[in-house]
Each structure stands twice: as C-alpha cells, then as structure tokens.
C-alpha cells in the first residue's frame, strides 16, 4: 500500500506490468517498492523447495525477489527487483515455477524436504549406473536453475571506460559524502560512485535530521557542491564490483537500463578505475534471524521495511510486528508508528534491555516459534504461546559491515565482539582500501560523523596533503547494540538460513553431523552463501548456527570470504565491443582491394584476412580454382600477397654476430645482396620458426618470419638483444606493416619483373641468381626490394614496396602479366606448391618437432653457440628411430589422403603402441595428378619406398601409402635456379 501523503506521490506516475498484470507506480520507485505499494506479495519461488517468496530487502543483498525483466532477446533473468529502477513500460515476471507463480507444481519438493535436505543427492541416484545421465540427472537439471536465457544473441551495446583518480569513494551515504567534501578540499582528484540512482545512501531510508533539518536537504547541498567542483566526479547507478591489484577497481554503470527507449545508447559501461586510495563507504547490510517459517512473503528485513516506508511511502498491510535482537529494530517500529501504522508488537530476543518505547507493546526475551500464511504472512506465534495476527513481519538480526570488496584480494575479515560484526582485516589498509562509517563498524550517526572526520583527516595528514577543516554536523542521536540471538531453538527444518538456496538450520545440523564442520565444508556441502546474493544476509546466521553446534564463538568458527564481483555483472559488459566481427582486430593485406575486386575468397590467418583463392567464372568448387592457380603459376607466372610474413629490420655493427646466435646456422659470412634460409630453435632445442634473412649492407639485414610467429620472433630477438647480449650494437624494428610484399613465381616471373624494374638494373640469372637480393626502383622510381627466393620451387622472386604502393603494384603485376597469362594465387595454391616442393610450414614446425625431426639437423652449426644448440643434443632428440619428415603418396593414385592420419606398418593393428607417425599436411597435386602428403614417420629417411597404412579411424578410412622423398617436384632445384 502507498501512504498517500508521501512526497513520491507528487512525482510522475508510471505504468508497468508484472506477470502480465498492469500496475502503477511513481518515478523514483524501484520495482520492489512499486510491487509493495501494489500489495503484490509473491514475487518468486525458492530454488529448491519452490516455496513462495516475496521481497525481503531493499538492495543488492536481495535473496528472494528475483525476476525476469523484458522479453525477446532483451530478456534479463535473475534480476533483483530491489535494484530495478521503475520506468514506464517495464515488464517483469516471476521465474522458477511450473504452472503459475501462485500454484507452482514443483512446490511438491517442499513436502519432500526431509528426504532432499543438504547433500541428499550424494547418497543416492547411483543405481543402476546408466540411469544417472539418462534419468536422474536430467530431472535434477530441469528442476534446478533459476531464470531462463532467451537463447538469442544479446542485442545491447556495452562500452568500456577508464577513470583515474586520487581517491575513489564507494558510496554516497553520510560518510561517503563527508569523505568526498573533505578530500575535495585538498585539491585531489576525487571520484564518488553510488550504486543507487539517488545519492545519500542509508540517509534516504531514515527520518534522521541533520543540522536540524531533513537529511535530504544536507544531501542535496553536499551533492550540489561536489558537482560544482572541477576535481570531483560523481557517478550514480554505478556499482564498484571488484577490487584488483595496485588500486584497480572495476565498476558497472547502468546507462539505459532505466529507460524503455534506449536510442542505441550503450546499455552499461564497464569502468576500470585506477586510484591511489579507496574510501569504502559502502555502509552495512542487515541480517535475518532463523526461526520457523521465517521465509513467508511479507517477512522482511526491518531496515528495509523502514526504507520502503520512509523513502517510498510503501508498506504491506496495516498490522506490523517487529522481531529483533538489537536496537535498530525499534527504529522501524517508531517510524511505522509515525506513519500511522499499527505496531502489533516488538519482539526482542533480549531479556535484560529496557524497552526504548513504552507506547509499543513489546515482548522481551521472547522468540517467534511459528508463523502462518503460506502465500503471505497472516500471524505469528511467540514462545509464550501468544498468537498475533499480522500483515507484515519486520526482522532484524543486526547489521553487518559491507566489507565485500575488502575480501577480493583475500583479506580475511576479523570479528568485532562489541557490535557482533565482521570488520575488514588489516590487509585492507595495506591495499589502500579504507573503510569509513558503517562499513567500518560504526553504526550510530553521531559517531559516524565524528569518526569519518577523524579517519579522513588523519589520512590526509599521513599523505601530507593540505588539511581541510573538519565538517561540523549536528545530527539526531542514535543508539545501537546487538545480541547474537540468530538461531532458532525449534523446528530447524523450517528455519531458513539461506533463503535463496533453501538452506535451513536443519541442513547446518546435518552438515555438522556428517563432519562438514569447517566453514568451507559447510558452505560446499550445504550450499550456504553460494546463491546470487553470496549470502549477504545469511552467512552470519550459518556461522552462528555452526558455532552453537560446535560450542564455540563465531570468531573461532571462522568465516568464508566474499569473492568478486560484489553484484553479478552481465558477461557482455566484460566483453563490451570485442564481440562478433570486432572480437579481434582485422588486418587487411595491401592487395585486399584488388583481391576483393577479383572475387577472392578470404581466410583468417591469425588476425589477417588473406586471399585463399580467386574463383573465376564457371568455377563452382574450390579445387577448380586452386588447381588452376597452381598450374598457371607452374606453367607461366603467378602472384601471391605474402605481406603477412613477419619482417624485422636489423641494423648495427654486431648484426651478424647477433644472427649467428639466434639462428642455428651461420650468417656472418653471408655476402651483401644475398639471402639465406635460417632455422630458429627455442632454448629447449625444439624448432619454432624459419624464414629467410637478406643482407642489404654490411650492417643491415632484413629478416622474415612466419606469419604466425611475427610477434614472437621479435620478442625473442629483443630478449637476446637486451637480456643476453646487451653489449652488442644491434637495433631491431618490425617492418611487417611498412612493406607490401608479393611472391612472383613461375617460369615467366623474370620476364614479368623485367617489365617493371627500372633500368639499368639487370635481373638476369647471371647478375641476379637464386638467393640474390637488392634494393632498386620499379615502375619509374618507386623504391623497392627484390629477393630471389622460392617457396613454390619455381623460378621465383619476392618483391617489396612501401605499403602505400602495395595495391597498385599488385594491380600492375597482374596487368603487366596479362601477356603471360599471369594469375593471382591465394594461400591454398601457395600451400599446394610448398607441399609439392617439400617445404615445411606451421603444420610441420608445430612446436613439437626438432631440427632432427624436420631433417634439418645439419643446419645446427656446432662451430658457435646459438639458442637451443646445447639442449638439442639431448638423447631424446637424436635417437636413430626418431620420426623424420618424409613424403607420402597413395599407392592407389585415385585415393585421397587426410592430414591427421596416423602411420602404421602394414599388417599391424592401429593402436597407440603401433603408432609410428602422422601425416601433417596433404594436398591434391595438380602437377602430379594425385594426392601427396608430408608427414613424420619413425626413421623415415631410411624407409623410402616402404608402404605403410595411413589410418584415419576418425573418418573410418585406411589408405595404403608409399614413403617417398618430401620433394615431389623438382627435387634437384633446377627450376628455382634457372
């Protein structure tokens, strides 16, 4: 119901639906307050027993009121109604029920409670063995879980942002605002972050006066002042949810969750906050009390009942009782009475206290032993036997400092026996998280004011900033003391500890009985504190219950620690814009435009997009295009973009010594204007990259790496340069993106290049032989580099120009090449030709193969040290039976080969013991007219001519293959030298 004189009723009226029914609320409501005002009591069903549940709290600690918001792909399950800002057109619905929310068929579980308590599933469902996956588990899985995902891609946009400050203040309650005002005075950069959509924190829930006026007046003045300061930024609707190392915090800001029309603005922003100091003004969270049937709709935390009454003018019914073990419960009684509601009783578990209010009927030293009303509380029964009819029961088990964030770096909370509360441990201080106010275990407003002044001023003094004046505030006086009466003495199987996970006091007892006594065992066995609220309102009850069973104090029982995030955060918010096509950046090659115009099919190679093949009219199957590209290249000339290969420019007096060390083979004697193939090992002796390095001058080399390892090779070269040989004069820079580079391959490649090379440069075989290189100009003055190297085995070159000329050069080569029937070829044809030639690539140099496996052991120079040299001498690298690179062809030429097939001697069965090797790369060779493959087989070099099985059990194929030389085409290398 709504108190019609409450100021919220002057605000804009908004309509919303819940479970299909239309309701009205006001701007400034939460979904929870609007539901209370509309007297909606059953909001959800509990996880296990499907008991009807209502709204329990007024914040992110809510265990019960989980709803689905929105529909279609926007559907957002498991949303806490207490955190949802009401807007016109909001659609909410209950979840976790079968049938309807009022008549949930799954509520049968509630009757079986005795049989399905904590851990029952560990003891049964084991027979017959096959029935677990087939029968029991599917039933359990369907019954478990809470909300439903839409199964549609999340349509919203999310952003990431970075904020830097000197002081991050979490919370804008009185201690947060005071801290901000004090720290702002020092001229420091201050960021205040408030989870709620309004500032002021708990003050909004209280009728406290500040400086003789309503606290809201002080709040709005403080916020106005802070907003006016240039060194202060203040964010609402933003929750700091995690603390990381070195002052890095993560926060989520809700940008458009409270608006129906999103106007393509981001839904949420994931802020990364870098701060020198963090002031934790996160307040406190009220806890419940375990007593029989303490979970009925209409049973709520007392402080929350007060929030709904004071801030929203909303309440359930007219007859309210309060059940408390501390002074705070009485404040709820006062405030409700002041609203004109009937306070049926305050039941205080403490006997020795003096009732603070004589005008309220109070029952001291009593407990509640029973409640009535399955779908909404109707009555309570006291330990004296007295039965009272009520519409709402407000429960207070005392307050717990909200120290969640101080646990994220595994800070262990410490018990404060005065206020019966866990405080942040010492290491929170070390990590610069400084709690103030209720988060520091100070619960009375007059003390919060003086303590916050003291803490912040002493911090400012310690840091050495200019000292501001202390803030003088005159407030009402509060008094708070608390007992630890949290545990029920009767009917434990109906006394709920963790409302969301349906953990009862009986479950705690069972855990104890079965030996799950340590807090971590208790949590894991009973599931206490593992629900979406992380047990914010219930953990202390569980600990108190275990302490009672063990005959110990809570401090001796210990505590589990909270884990990030403080509130659950949408997975999309962490991904932000890195999704879909933007999951990773896309790198385009210089010839991309020309290739696109020629209808190239592109393939992802790392982050690069490369042309895979260039289909021509009439070609419907990829092999047609690839075979044509190979044949045309081998018969005339083909052009392929190889820009993606890593290029590292190496200069300095000591380059050659440096290269001798990073490659297994020697480079010092490489003449200027010559290229050499090099192999690189890791220090463990395994091959990891290969490529060619060209010498352009005495002190100038250009190294190429594989596409995949471009960054890794540079990293390793820098390691050698800085960490192993820092006295050498060597300088490195990656030029991969600076030069466009094309392979021009085939018997007509020289003739084609001669057309564009500027005179008088002579590239005849005599003056520019195989493995020559030079700097030159082409096309009338364009700077270029030419390398006579061949991956295809043909007479071939690679030509490089500054990237901005790349697209034009590719075009020029093709148009100049028309007379030769020049063809652009993609990565597939490139791959086919390198397999035909027997060149290794990533499938062979896969990080598991050595120079010896690759048949390149003679490339390891023993004249000088090099990376990996020594460890490649180990016995495992050098046995006579190690697998070596070989060629394979099907005995029946019509048969296809499959990469990944294993190699087995004829007559043997395909088992692990008989495994002798594998096919690493296969291709159809249009040159030879049948499939060929590269692979590794034990002692391969001595077995040429032998026939073995290529076994592919996965696709149920066994092919007889012959071991041959890996060089299928032109093994003598006549063509490439021609």
């Amino acid at each position: 119901m709504r108190n019609s004189s409450h100021p919220i009723t002057n605000k804009q009226k908004v309509s919303f639906t819940f479970n299909g029914k239309k309701y009205f609320g006001y701007k400034g409501d939460t979904l929870a307050s609007a539901l209370i005002a509309n007297n909606v009591k059953i909001v959800g069903r509990s996880f296990k027993y499907h008991r009807p549940r209502g709204i329990f709290s007024a914040g992110s600690e809510e265990p019960n009121a989980l709803v689905a918001l929105g529909d279609g792909p926007y559907k957002e399950p498991n949303t806490k109604a207490t955190n949802v800002e009401l807007f016109d057109g909001l659609k909410g619905s209950s979840q976790n029920f079968l049938g309807s929310i009022d008549f949930d068929l799954m509520a049968i579980n509630d009757l079986l409670k005795n049989f399905i308590g904590a851990g029952f599933y560990y003891k049964t469902f084991m027979w017959p063995r096959r029935f677990w996956e087939k029968l029991y588990e599917p039933i359990i899985r369907r019954a478990a879980g809470l909300g439903k995902l839409s199964l549609k891609a999340d349509p919203s946009q999310y952003d990431k942002g970075y904020l830097h400050c000197d002081f991050l203040i979490i919370g804008s309650g009185i201690s947060g605002l005071m801290s901000a005002l004090l720290l702002a005075e020092t001229g420091s950069e201050v960021l205040i972050v408030e989870e709620d959509f309004i500032f002021g924190g708990r003050l909004n829930s209280e009728r406290l006066g500040i400086n003789g006026k309503q606290s809201s007046i002080w709040i709005s003045r403080a916020v106005k002042k802070l907003k006016s300061l240039k060194n202060v930024r203040i964010l609402n609707r933003t929750t700091v949810f995690a603390a990381f190392d070195h002052g890095i915090f993560a926060a989520i800001e809700k940008k458009t969750d409270h608006i129906l029309e999103k106007n393509s603005k981001p839904r949420q922003i994931n802020w990364k906050i870098y701060t020198k100091h963090c002031i934790l003004a996160s307040g406190a969270i009220e806890r419940s009390i375990a007593f029989p049937q303490n979970d009925r709709p209409g049973i709520m935390l007392a402080g929350s009942v007060r929030t709904y009454a004071n801030r929203f003018g909303a309440h359930y019914g007219q007859k309210i009782a309060i059940y408390t073990n501390n002074d705070d419960g009485w404040k709820t009684a006062d405030d409700l009475k002041n609203m004109g509601l009937e306070i049926k009783a305050v039941i205080d578990t403490r006997k020795e206290i003096e009732a603070p209010s004589s005008s309220i009927s109070s029952y001291l030293g009593q407990t509640i032993t029973k409640t009535y009303g399955r779908k909404g509380i109707k009555a309570i029964k006291l330990s004296s036997g007295l039965k009272l009819n009520v519409d709402c029961l407000a429960v207070s088990g005392g307050w717990s400092s909200n120290i969640h964030l101080t646990c994220h770096k595994r800070g262990k909370p410490v018990w404060d026996n005065i206020y019966k509360n866990f405080l942040s441990g010492d290491n929170a201080q070390k990590d610069n998280i400084i709690p103030v106010g209720a988060a520091r275990g100070i619960f009375e407003i007059q003390n919060i004011i003086s303590d916050t002044n003291r803490v912040i001023l002493s911090l400012i003094k310690t840091i050495g900033l200019s000292m501001p004046d202390r803030i003088t505030l005159i407030s009402s006086k509060e008094q708070y003391s608390c007992s630890l009466d949290l545990v029920s003495s009767s009917n434990p199987s109906n006394s709920f500890i963790d409302l969301q996970n349906d953990v009862t006091q009986k479950d705690i007892e069972l855990s104890f009985k079965e030996g799950f006594k340590s807090v971590e065992h208790l949590k894991r066995y009973s599931t206490l504190g593992m629900a979406t609220d992380q047990g914010k309102t219930s953990n202390i009850l569980g600990l108190a219950s275990m302490a009672k069973l063990k005959g110990m104090n809570i401090s001796e029982v210990g505590t589990t620690i909270f884990r990030p995030p403080y509130v659950p955060v949408a997975i999309s918010a962490f991904a932000a814009r890195s999704r879909g096509k933007d999951f990773r950046p896309t790198r385009l090659t210089p010839s991309h435009n020309v290739a696109s115009k020629r209808n190239a099919v592109f393939v992802e190679t790392g982050n690069w997009l490369r042309a895979q093949w260039f289909p021509e009219k009439g070609e419907t199957f990829w092999r047609q295009s690839v075979d044509r590209e190979v044949i045309q290249t081998r018969n005339s000339v083909g052009i392929c973009d190889v820009t993606t290969l890593g290029k590292i420019d190496i200069q300095g007096k000591d380059c050659s010594e440096f290269l001798n060390f990073v490659y297994t083979n020697a480079f010092a004697k490489l003449p200027i204007n010559r290229v050499r193939y090099g192999l690189m090992l890791r220090e463990d002796g395994v091959a990891y990259d290969d490529g060619t390095t060209a010498r352009l001058g005495e002190n100038h080399f250009i190294m190429t790496t594989t596409t995949a390892n471009a960054a890794l090779v540079l990293r390793n070269l820098e390691f050698v340069r800085q960490c192993l040989l820092p006295n050498l004069d060597v300088h490195l820079i990656s030029t991969t993106d600076s030069w466009a580079q094309y392979a021009v391959a085939g018997p007509n490649s020289r003739r084609l290049l001669q057309k564009i090379v500027d005179k008088p440069k002579d590239i005849t075989n005599q003056n520019f032989p195989f493995m020559a290189c030079c700097e030159l100009t082409i096309c009338g003055g364009i700077m270029a580099r030419l390398f006579r190297i061949s991956f295809s085995g043909e007479l071939a070159y690679e030509i490089a120009v500054p990237t901005q000329y790349g697209n034009s050069l590719f075009d020029a080569l093709l148009s100049e090449g028309e007379e030769f029937n020049a063809v652009p070829y993609g990565t597939e044809a490139l791959g086919v030709m390198r397999i035909e030639k027997g060149h290794v690539a990533g499938n062979e140099i896969n990080g598991q193969t050595s120079a010896q496996n690759l048949g390149l052991s003679r490339m390891i120079s023993k004249k000088a040290d090099s990376i990996g040299n020594i460890l490649s001498e180990r016995e495992g690298f050098n046995g006579s039976n190690i697998a070596t690179l070989s060629g394979f062809k099907p005995v029946q030429h019509s048969q296809k080969l499959e990469a990944g097939s294993h190699l087995i001697s004829l007559g043997k069965t395909p088992t692990m013991e008989n495994d002798e090797g594998w096919l690493s790369s296969v291709a159809f060779s249009p040159t030879l007219g049948h499939y060929i493959g590269l692979g590794f087989i034990e002692s391969g070099h001595t077995r040429v001519g032998e026939k073995v099985y290529a076994v592919n059990l996965l696709q149920n194929k066994t092919t007889e293959v012959e071991i041959v030389s890996p060089h299928f085409v032109d093994p003598e290398g006549i063509k490439q030298r021609g």
């Binding site: 003891k123 839409s150 199964l151 395994v686 499938n843 495992g876």
Partner: protein
C-alpha cells in the same frame, strides 16, 4: 556408512538423526607405513587405491587446511581424455574409465556426468591437428568423432555461426567427456579411505621431512613428528614450497588460474564446449550455473585470485562464441594455484631422496586426472615401479629431452 536411496528414505522418516561423519578425525599415530602429504583429490585418491588395490592401510594423509581445500575444491570440474601424445593419452583414458565406475566404487554420488566435451575448430590447420588428436584417442581405446558445421548447428544452435570473427568449421567431440561434482570426489575418496583404516589428519601441516643418509623416514608436522617407511608428496599448487624444504628445485612454476560461474539458469549448455579462437570453455552445472574459464593469468602467483584482464579476455571469448550468454551475469570469480610444469605434463616419480616420492606438475589438468593419478601414485608407492600408463611422467625426461609437450610451447610454463 553405506548410502542408498532406501537409506535416504529411512533417515528422512526418522528425522535424519542417524547420519554419521564421512571420515573420522583421528590424532596422528607415531608411525605409519606411508604418509601422504596433501589431503586434496590426488592425495586422498592415492590413499584409497593404496588401501583398496594394494592392501596397504597403515597410512596417514596429512593436510594443512581442511580436506579438499586445494585445487579439488576450486576447478571447473571437467573430465575428458582428448589428448594427443602417446605418453598422455592412455593415462587420461585410464582415468576416464576409473571415473565411469567411481560412484559405485565409492558408494558416493559425485555426479559423474558424461554429457560430452566439444572442441570447436576454426581453421583447416586446427582441423588437421584435431584429426590427428582424434585418431590418437581412438587408437588408445577412447572415443572421439569429428563433427561438421551442420552437425554443430543441430547440436549447439546457439553458437555464432553467422557473425563470428573466426568462422566455426567443426568440432572434435568426445561423448564420454563431461563433468563431475568436484568436492564430492574428495569426500567420496576420504570416506572410503577412512573406512579402510586410513587416518586423514586435517589442519596438520607438514613443516619438514625427516631425512637421514639420503633416506626419508617421516615428516615433521604442526601436530608433531610422524614417522613412516615412505612419504608421498602430493601438493599441487604448493609443490615447490614443500619440496623446497629439502632443497629440491622443481621444473614447475606456480600460476593462478581463474574460473567463473554465472547465476543459476535453466539448462542451455549441453556438455562442455571449448572455443578454438580464444580462451573460453564452458559447461553448465547441475545447479544451473554456467561454469567457465579460459587461460591462466600468466604470472607466478600464490595469491589464489587473479586480475581483470583475464576476466575480460574470457568473457570476450564467451560472447564471441555464444552471444546468447551475454545477458547472463557472472556471479563469482575465484582462483586456484596451478603447478605449471615446464612441458605442460605431470610428474609421478621417485625423488633423489630414498623413500620420498613426488606427484605434481598437473598444470590445469589435474582434476580429470584425479583417479588415475591416485592409482598410479599408489602403484609407485606400493611397488616402487611406475604404472604402465604413467611410465613417462618422470623427472629425467627434461634431462633426456623426452618432453611431453602437448601444446608445443616449450619450457614456458604460462603457455601450457
């Protein structure tokens, strides 16, 4: 105590008054035949198989914290045997076979759920590698099949087939892979080891080894000196710390691996799915939470917690692979300390101190190995020789250059 549906019914009817602790809480005896240092999954499994298979029951398991407080209590619960290398594949397949009978053997329902493990691939060379691996699996008697895009569209229609940066080209599917309720594994082994006479001693930290003339004859603990004929260390995560007490440097670095769980949701993810173009894998627990993770944070750490970049990286992978999980919320993050070995594979071996044995270096594959690791370690402790399926998990493989490098990353632990 024998568990059954009847027992649950009977206890339910009489108010659940008859349940007993799963394991005793004994004080340590003066001496044992074997002391296992480390009361995690592997240590408890070792004790169980020593008692069950090798009939050695005069055993103590000493655990510095609470039973199961190591990585058995903080992992993503996946079991599978989809390994490539001949040194690994038979071992993990042996483990999977032990998992398949575990509940009946331990009379404890650890919810071994073989809903399958699916590795998605995105390129031809990835496919080639998976074909090679799938064939290795079949050759060692495991199960595997190769799925094409159309199979995947039927099986996991919620993957991003339309708009993904790296196209989905197929998957390697192991139907017998799945998940297990991890804590229950520790509890089940503890219960059955205890019932065979093994003393499980919690809150008892081994502070040093008793060594004389190159022989180990017991451990010093926070509960006093305990002697034994053999000592088996089994403390993955703390291996370097424990072995460092007697000056042994290991080929191991400790790294933090984070894992995440979402809020509870009605079933959407059928089995385990891994992304091949980023760091992300996911399954859904029986409670409904999406359990997911990715790569290790990548720096040495004993902090049992991680940092933000990895959380973002994992979520990016998740939303890229299956954008329908975007509005599900990440509920909890936690971190475990991994023994990252130098070639990515474990060690189950003797040490150069007689009667002192070592089991560790599990990287982040330790959970699925639990039964076979326990079995093979028990074999080594009982017989002095390696079990055939773990015969290559030796210290000397680094010296000999017989590395077991499943990922081909070399001596760089944070890349395994």
């Amino acid at each position: 105590m024998k568990y059954s549906g009847i027992k649950v019914l009977w206890e339910g009817l009489r108010g659940n008054m008859g349940w007993k602790p799963l394991w005793r809480n004994p004080d340590p005896k003066k001496s044992y035949d074997i002391i296992i240092v480390g009361g995690g999954g592997h240590g408890l499994a070792t004790a169980y198989y020593l008692a069950e298979e090798f009939k050695i029951t005069n055993i103590a398991v000493v655990e510095k914290g609470w039973l199961g407080s190591g990585n058995i209590g903080r992992n993503t619960t996946i079991i599978r045997s989809n390994y490539l290398l001949p040194q690994n594949q038979p071992f993990y397949e042996f483990s999977l076979k032990l998992w398949e009978n575990l509940e009946q053997e331990l009379n404890y329902n650890s919810m071994v759920s073989q809903r399958g493990v699916l590795n998605i691939f995105h390129s031809d060379s990835q496919r080639d590698a998976f074909v090679r691996r799938g064939n290795a699996m079949l050759m060692s008697g495991a199960d595997a099949s190769l799925l094409g895009v159309n199979d995947l569209k039927k099986m996991v229609p919620f993957l991003d087939f339309q708009n993904s940066r790296f196209p989905i080209k197929g998957g390697l599917w192991q139907p017998r892979g799945g998940t297990v309720r991890h804590d229950a594994v520790a509890w089940g082994y503890a219960k059955e080891a205890d019932s065979r006479g093994v003393d499980i001693i919690e809150n008892c930290e081994a502070t040093n080894f008793l060594v004389k003339n190159g022989r180990c004859y017991g451990v010093e603990t926070t509960k006093g000196v305990i002697k034994s004929k053999k000592v088996g260390v089994c403390v993955a995560g703390s291996s370097s710390q424990v072995m460092g007490k007697i000056g042994i440097n290991l080929p191991i670095e400790s790294h933090v691996l984070q894992a995440f769980v979402s809020e509870g949701l009605k079933p959407v993810i059928p089995g385990v799915i891994t992304f091949g173009a980023g760091h992300f894998y996911v399954s859904q627990s029986n409670k409904g939470g999406l359990v997911f993770g990715g790569d290790i944070d990548g720096y040495n750490s004993y902090a049992q917690r991680g940092n933000l970049p990895v959380i973002e990286d994992v979520c990016e992978g998740g939303v890229a692979l299956m954008p329908m999980i975007g509005r599900a919320r990440l509920l909890r993050a936690w971190g475990g300390v991994m023994d990252m070995s130098m070639d990515g594979s474990p060690i189950i071996d003797k040490t150069n101190i007689k009667n002192l044995y070592f089991n560790g270096g599990w990287c982040y594959g330790g959970f699925k190995a639990t039964p076979a690791s326990g079995f093979c370690y028990a074999h080594l402790l009982a017989t002095g020789t390696s079990h055939n399926d773990a015969k290559d998990f030796l210290f000397n493989r680094f010296e000999k250059g017989r590395l077991i490098d499943e990922k081909g990353q070399g001596n760089q632990p944070n890349l395994h």
